[in-house]
């Protein structure tokens, strides 16, 4: 670790060394072409969805085209004006937000404790947390159904927000612990010497130091909660329906409303894209769960 710190210190002196130009070779070109193909393959299904959303159902079923003949935003307007859809999106955004806040707040002290202290059962506790990360949602669908029904939270956003804590809290602890590890213990000691009480130290000094860690963690909690649909649909019925449930209802009477489905799908990508743009400088490290 010290070596890496030192290398960045000397690299700071060197900044970005200008390498002598490399010859134009096929071995340089081939990876670039492969990379471009990969990016293209990545974007194609997404583009196709956007394409679908701008075409009418008649147009879709009658011809296969790369570009919409008469692009129209009518399905988007429909969604924005339909209370069921709007409610569904709001519900989803709300439970995701609640879940993120809960997960990050409880994970912060826990991550600190796991990294800084040794306590009875700490290894087992950590492992147990990790194993819940890997909990198959299918296994919990039925028990959660019974549980939340029993405590009267069924069909509320709180049910989903709490249910998602099953895997989001371990994610948050794991990622934050990696970032906590990056703060030298000397800082804690200095604060103690300077007379800070622990809560004050934690809130005013420590958390700002891992601010990007908190941001990355919040991003991941958002992401995992936003994309998970099995529990979200199982635990809701009418009042707190997430968009996934409303979307599945578009498979009904008059056949599939492809265009509407596509528009809804495109809309669900936007929050994710926005959030990832904000943490783009840290996601690589965050995906490594702070543990590179």
């Amino acid at each position: 670790m010290a070596a890496e710190v030192l290398s960045t210190a000397s690299l700071a002196e060197v900044q970005s060394p200008a390498r002598p130009r490399r010859a134009f070779r096929l071995s340089n070109l081939l990876p670039r072409i492969g990379f471009a193909i990969y990016l293209l393959a990545l974007m194609l299904p997404i583009y196709w969805l956007i394409n679908m959303s701008l075409r009418s159902n008649e147009e879709i079923t009658s011809s296969l085209a790369f570009f919409p003949h008469h692009p129209s935003l009518e399905k988007y307007f429909f969604i924005f004006n339909d209370p069921t859809w709007v409610h569904a999106f709001m519900v989803s955004l709300t439970y995701v937000a609640i879940n993120t806040v809960i997960s990050v707040s409880v994970a912060l002290p826990a991550a600190y404790a796991f990294n800084r202290y040794h306590f009875i059962g700490d290894k087992y506790l950590f492992f147990w947390l990790l194993s819940n990360l890997m909990a198959p949602a299918a296994v919990y669908a039925m028990p959660f159904f019974n549980l939340y029904y029993a405590i009267g939270l069924f069909d509320t956003i709180w049910a989903v927000a709490l249910a998602h804590c099953l895997f989001n809290v371990p994610v948050a602890v794991w990622i934050l612990e990696g970032f906590v590890a990056g703060v030298p213990r000397e800082i804690d000691e200095m604060a103690a010497i300077d007379g800070y009480s622990f809560p004050r130290f934690f809130i005013r000094i420590f958390i700002p130091l891992i601010a990007n860690g908190v941001g990355v963690t919040a991003f991941f909690c958002f992401m995992f909660s936003w994309v998970e649909q099995l529990l979200a649909t199982t635990l809701t019925a009418t009042d707190a329906l997430p968009f996934a449930a409303v979307m599945s209802r578009s498979y009904s009477v008059a056949g599939m409303d492809w265009s509407l489905l596509a528009a809804a799908g495109v809309l669900t990508m936007i929050p994710g894209a926005l959030v990832i743009w904000f943490v783009r400088n840290h996601i690589a490290k965050g995906f490594a769960l702070g543990r590179v």
């Binding site: 070596a3 290398s7 002196e13 060197v14 900044q15 970005s16 060394p17 390498r19």
Partner: protein, 355 residues
């Protein structure tokens, strides 16, 4: 075998207004050991990377034995470099690590084996050859890094970028003496970057002192000590460094804080007489009386010698206390060796007229 010539080399990093390296010319002679000494940010690592080819200089040329290598990439320059921390191939044994550069250059196997054995012997690594490189101590790993550079017989120069940084202080001397032994045995040109003057002065035949991208002085350790050509050199080298005091110099006398100090030469051409005089504590001694009157603040007994911290007006300076002399505290007399008393104008040494 090579001498490396730097012809008009200067460098500034892209998107940076300041010059990381001011224009300089220097010839590095084959077989000698050089140190690049200076504080952080002085440009020494930049200079090293220009020599090794990891950076292309903004101006100037680099010549190996007269051949222009400025545009040649590192791997074609026949240099070897040791970094701040050991750089070894984790998955290989020590033997495989040492053999790696030769394998890549398609040397034949028996020749590789012989050469690896030879270098391992030189570095006391023979017993470690079959061990996994990552299991060694940091010091041994750094030796392996060194070995990988030495194993190529056609290496023209070895470059070191603060190689003892992560070594345990207690073991630094061991590695330093190993480096010196290697230098004697293989007669290589070695360039050693460091900010530690002890390392530089013990290792090098010639030291290049740098600050803020400029080369201040190139001289042997003894010369740097006895005749610093720049106030920074005087201050940086020696422990403690040179005493420096602002003074008004008129002809052969320096006026400092109401005292007149006799200089060993005449300095007729100093503008306004504004100068800085410098002398090393080692060439100044205290006595109970006589000499320049100074206030004694503290006397430190360092075993081999006693160092006195005294004040001349507002200036705090160090001086030797000779053996057998006892200073009672309070006042004392400072005597400075005249031929070791230097005058600096705008930080540069000015030579006086010693007639």
């Amino acid at each position: 075998m090579a001498r490396i010539t730097l012809d008009g080399i200067a460098h500034s990093y892209p998107r940076s207004a300041t010059m990381a390296l001011q224009p300089l010319n220097h010839v590095w002679e084959q077989g000698r050991a050089y140190a690049l000494l200076g504080p952080s940010g002085c440009g020494k690592t930049t200079l090293l990377n220009i020599i090794s080819g990891l950076i292309s200089p903004s101006q100037g040329r680099v010549l190996f034995d007269g051949k222009d290598v400025t545009l040649l990439p590192t791997e074609q320059r026949n240099i070897a470099q040791v970094f701040q921390f050991p750089v070894i191939y984790d998955t290989m044994t020590v033997g495989e690590n040492l053999a790696f550069p030769l394998k890549n250059r398609r040397m034949e196997r028996s020749a590789i084996r012989a050469r690896v054995a030879e270098i391992a012997e030189l570095l006391d690594l023979t017993g470690d050859l079959p061990r996994r490189a990552r299991a060694l101590t940091v010091e041994a790993k750094q030796k392996v890094s060194l070995g990988r550079g030495l194993v190529r017989a056609d290496v023209a120069a070895m470059l070191f970028d603060e190689p003892l940084t992560v070594i345990d202080p207690a073991l630094k001397w061991h590695l330093r003496s190993k480096l010196k032994a290697v230098h004697r045995a293989l007669d290589l040109l070695m360039i050693y970057v460091t900010h530690d003057q002890v390392e530089a002065l013990t290792f090098a035949d010639e030291v290049v002192v740098m600050k803020d991208g400029r080369v201040l002085q190139v001289a042997s350790p003894a010369q740097l000590f006895e005749r610093p050509e720049h106030t920074f050199v005087g201050y940086f080298i020696g422990s403690p460094g040179m005493n420096l005091m602002a003074a008004k110099v008129s002809d052969h006398v320096a006026h400092v804080s109401g005292q007149d100090i006799e200089l060993g030469a005449r300095y007729p051409k100093i503008k306004n007489g504004d100068a800085v005089i410098g002398f090393r504590p080692d060439f100044a001694s205290l006595s109970p009386e006589g000499g320049i009157p100074v206030q004694v603040r503290r006397i430190e007994d360092l075993g081999r010698r006693r160092l006195a911290r005294v004040a001349l007006g507002p200036h705090e300076i160090f001086a030797n206390v000779p053996e057998g002399v006892s200073i009672g505290g309070g006042q004392a007399g400072l005597t400075i060796q005249q031929d070791r008393l230097f005058v600096y104008v705008d930080d540069e040494l000015v030579l006086g007229d010693r007639r």
